[in-house]
Subunit: 221 residues, 2 copies
Amino acid sequence: MRLALLGGTGDIGEGLALRWARDTDHEVLVGSRDPERARERVEEYHAALDANGASGTIKGFENTMAADRADVVVLSVPPYHVENTVESVADRIGDAILVSPAVGIKRDDEGFHYHRPPAGSVTALAADAAPGGVPVVGAFHNLPAKRLSELEDDLGFDTLVVGDDRDANREIAALAAEIDGLRTFEAGPLSNAAEVESLTPLLINLARYNGDLDHVGVRFG
Amino acid sequence: MRLALLGGTGDIGEGLALRWARDTDHEVLVGSRDPERARERVEEYHAALDANGASGTIKGFENTMAADRADVVVLSVPPYHVENTVESVADRIGDAILVSPAVGIKRDDEGFHYHRPPAGSVTALAADAAPGGVPVVGAFHNLPAKRLSELEDDLGFDTLVVGDDRDANREIAALAAEIDGLRTFEAGPLSNAAEVESLTPLLINLARYNGDLDHVGVRFG
């Protein structure tokens, strides 16, 4: 498969690109609004793979070009760019699955809090913006990006998928589980996405208040 | 210490009573609005300990009597009874720490959702109802009660504490960690309680949508 990471020059994009490139045979397309920036980052990603004694296929494109070629399109952009990013690639998505990992977070002096968008969740925001018939799956919300990017880290935590198209959920769950050390579980339909996204500010709070929990992931069972 | 479980005849009360009785030297006071009911349940709890080859000290009382004697008072009641339970024992709490494990949950056809009370969280609701100067700690929200009650279960999951009095947080964290197989982390001040409580409906959704996750707990790291 071809996996596009729109905004794939950022931290969660980097982590997923490196892991998918190393652990699977899929072709990873790193998208950016600036194709030159995408290509620069792809060079860095290949250097990180080399340093890990690994290899894989990663290419850099402008976002719409990446979306155009992909079977799975991951919106690895900040939450306030989800809507315009979906709109900018809407006529290129075709029959790809759209994946939303972003979380709305606000902070105060004491911690981080879930900032629920009027749509109900960022995943729902992406689904509202997506062309009719395009399956939208929320996934990868709760992964510590830095640990994905450190290829020597064995991970050992879980990610959740949520969305109204259960076949698409399962496809993305399987794609996530191809990453070594990552397990996936399904959290149900789109209306359950807020509870999934709420976990991210909690994890940041735990890292802040517990010296021994840095870049913390979560494991269910 | 003496640990009162108000509404301790219910499922989370049962689990905590059995574990604290078996794993610690603390005296567990099971409270109920009906003292006869409390004493009946305590007999059942002792039978469960016997069946596990364990022993411990558990006694049954009317709620106010239990609160009066305790160093720690756990509000193991449904969320809609938190406020009136605190009020009913307000003049008996003395210098005990008040602990709130309840979570507001609403459900629809597709799943369970966090029902945030106007106070901001159930823990904040308990804090608002508590007499001035009484430390209130949110804890034990995310524990699968049934697994606590099954004494042969080795647990292996975590619970979080949250509240504005950090000494009280640490005291309750230590008390939780005295239960074999349970680790504790601090989630920060009271204003971070909603993110902690939101985890509970997520865990119920995961149990519903994943056949292999039943009575699921969570582990951070």
